[in-house]
Symmetry: C2
Subunit: 402 residues, 2 copies
């Protein structure tokens, strides 16, 4: 049995403990060795819980124990996870994590340290919970040039948008309800402003495109301004609104953004509802593919961490290929990213809208929107859109269309 | 550069040739070696085509060339693919294939020969075209016990059902049209009677459950009896009809079947339309996941073969783990598989239906069905269903519900 440690006994950490115990026999068969949890690191005590026997408050117990070969870092955040991860890798222990913040910020450095020490830094659980997207990008899609990776990467916002759409409710009301039900944090900013999705798409685009996409340079808009009227108009156009995280390569230029998008009903992302996540990939040979599953939750996320740990055991002594290489990708300005735009505006401005956006635009009206109407533009850059929109008063909202 | 050969220059073979050439630079970077096609085996000539320079009509050129390390077997069928594959593996060449018929029939033996010779037998492209389901099952979901794998595994039948549903057309008319457009074979039996999906679900269940599921023992029904009335009633129940291939473990008993199923609109398989494929997986820790993509077509399938070839290069000297081990799984009789049943029948039999299937069943009527109505039963085995249905005359169709 290979000895392992879990750093952090929170939602994901206790899930990893459960997965490794529940499925210990099949993991033993498939790895031909098995995994035994020797330590769990947490500042708290868990009296009466079986984990109490293997609990430590001192990270040094773990990093200094040469028997420990695999470590699950499921603490989250940068401090002290960054230092702990570095020290484990330097002590020739593979590290498997769900920590998207750390991977987005220090991924390439930690991958390099892992390589230098002949071990692995795996982070399947950092994006899309249990969905095996990272291993698919690195191994199964190895013969493809990926030119788009996009998707619904945040379950909280997808849950809120799904309920707003189904119930016609206001953002604030659904958010409050989601907080009461534990689907949203008390401080919901990271989710609803798109920062969680931003980190995840930074990681996924870095792997898909081969070099680092800096998450802080990704244009990011959240869902706080989406109204029931937007969602009703979306239905009138055969669409729904999803918070999409987007990485795209067009004519050698790279774009990344997080923003609400109108998604048409023939797009496989259209029917991804509630807390589910889905990731769409386009390869130059593969064409379209999509991966769907639970994007969060203790056990689905832990399933991915545990699978990484099993792969670390199977690949002992060998650093597995990761397509995320050293160097950075320069993103093109998001306002040159081209798409159609949905526009909601006062009916009185419809005439001007035709003169600005073209006679061929088609207006829709819906009962609940009273004096407002909406149309969808031709494909254009945001820069071009803004230039035209300046000539038009009465715009209530504009939403990109996938 | 690692030298490779392609057996068969048909739809998939020419696709593999294209993928390896188009993406040769990135494959070189990612494998750190690159792949060079040294031979293409085909009985035909291709004068003027660049493949002509490396064409051979003699398999011995390939099997006897120690430089060739990787072979793509994309001929299809059992003869001579089975013999060629065995000889290549015995000559310590990895073989990558899209040949579902051969894998379903001789998979375990060929995997064993590969292991004995320290090479790999990969068959990602045999199920779901470019969808990376097999590598996900074998590597990414290694910490999960998979208790269900089901999906839309045949693009031709999905295309036919999608068009029948959208247009209200008859099976025979859409089939003829699909044949004219090249989406269906002149002899469509393997597709429309479900045998293609049967082989694929045999392969996928064998990997998911760890031992061989014999495709010939899988209960298989095709889509030839589905009528426009069934599809219209499906809509009335908020469903659509899909040909599903099903592998499921319930209380230690294994079931596999291929059959039309009613799929409800909240199921992610509901909106998988046209020639697309999708594979749903349930893991005891992962929960629900789904993989979606092009299930056929030259380039998507070739993308999976080429990725397998790249993995064979990366894993030279090492046989990669496959969860499909020696031994067989005994399937429980399909008539003990429990589900709800959709029943279409004469309105005159509605009263008897209530006395047989329970007062609580709800009838739906639709204009195009004239004197017919439909209902959905409680969950029961097919055996139980048949027992009750015997008491009822006027049943026009019965379709399982997912």
């Amino acid at each position: 049995m290979v000895k392992a440690a879990i750093l952090g006994f929170g939602t994901v950490g206790s899930g990893v403990y459960n997965v490794l115990n529940t499925n210990s026999e099949l993991i033993r068969e498939r790895t031909e060795k098995g995994i035994e949890i020797k330590y769990v690191l947490d500042l708290r005590e868990f009296p009466g819980h079986p984990v109490d026997d293997i609990l430590t408050h001192d990270f040094n117990d773990i990093v200094n124990d040469p028997e420990v070969k695999v470590v699950a870092e499921v603490m989250g955040g940068i401090k002290p996870a960054y230092e702990f991860t570095k020290q484990c890798l330097q002590a020739k222990k593979s590290v498997c994590t769900s920590n998207k913040e750390l991977v987005a910020k220090h991924g390439p450095e930690l991958l390099r340290i892992a390589r230098e020490n002949g071990v692995n830094y795996f982070f399947e659980a950092s994006c899309g919970g249990g969905i095996p997207i990272i291993r698919s990008l690195n191994e199964a899609l190895i013969a493809d040039e990926i030119d788009e990776i996009s998707g619904i990467l945040n379950g909280t916002t997808n849950y809120i948008l799904t309920r707003m759409s189904k119930e016609g409710s206001l953002f604030d009301d659904v958010l409050k309800d989601a907080q009461d039900m534990g689907y949203a944090e008390r401080n919901p900013e990271a989710d609803v402003e798109g920062f969680d999705a931003q980190r995840k798409i930074a990681i996924l685009s870095s792997i898909a495109f081969g070099k680092t996409v800096d998450n802080e340079k990704i244009h990011t808009e959240g869902i706080t301004k989406i109204t029931p009227a937007d969602l009703e108009f979306a239905k009138a156009f055969g669409c729904t609104i999803k918070l999409l995280a987007y990485g795209k390569k067009v004519d050698g230029r790279y774009y990344a953004l997080v923003s609400p998008f109108m998604v048409a009903s023939d797009n496989p992302l259209f029917s991804v509802d509630g807390v589910f996540n889905a990731i769409f990939v386009h390869g130059n040979m593969l064409g379209d593919a999509m991966f769907y599953g639970s994007g969060a939750g203790s056990l689905p996320t832990a399933s991915a961490v545990a699978a990484d740990m099993a792969q670390a055991v199977k690949n002992e002594g060998k650093t597995v290929y990761n397509n995320w290489q050293e160097g950075s990708i320069e993103l093109s300005p998001s306002d040159s990213f081209e798409c159609r735009f949905f526009v909601r505006l006062d009916k009185g401005a419809a005439g001007t809208a035709k003169s600005v956006f073209g006679e061929e635009i088609q207006f829709k009206e819906i009962p609940i929107a009273g004096d407002e109407c909406a149309f969808i533009t031709e494909v254009m850059s945001e820069k071009e859109f803004e230039k035209r929109a300046e000539k038009l008063s009465g715009i209530k909202s504009r939403i990109r269309c996938k």
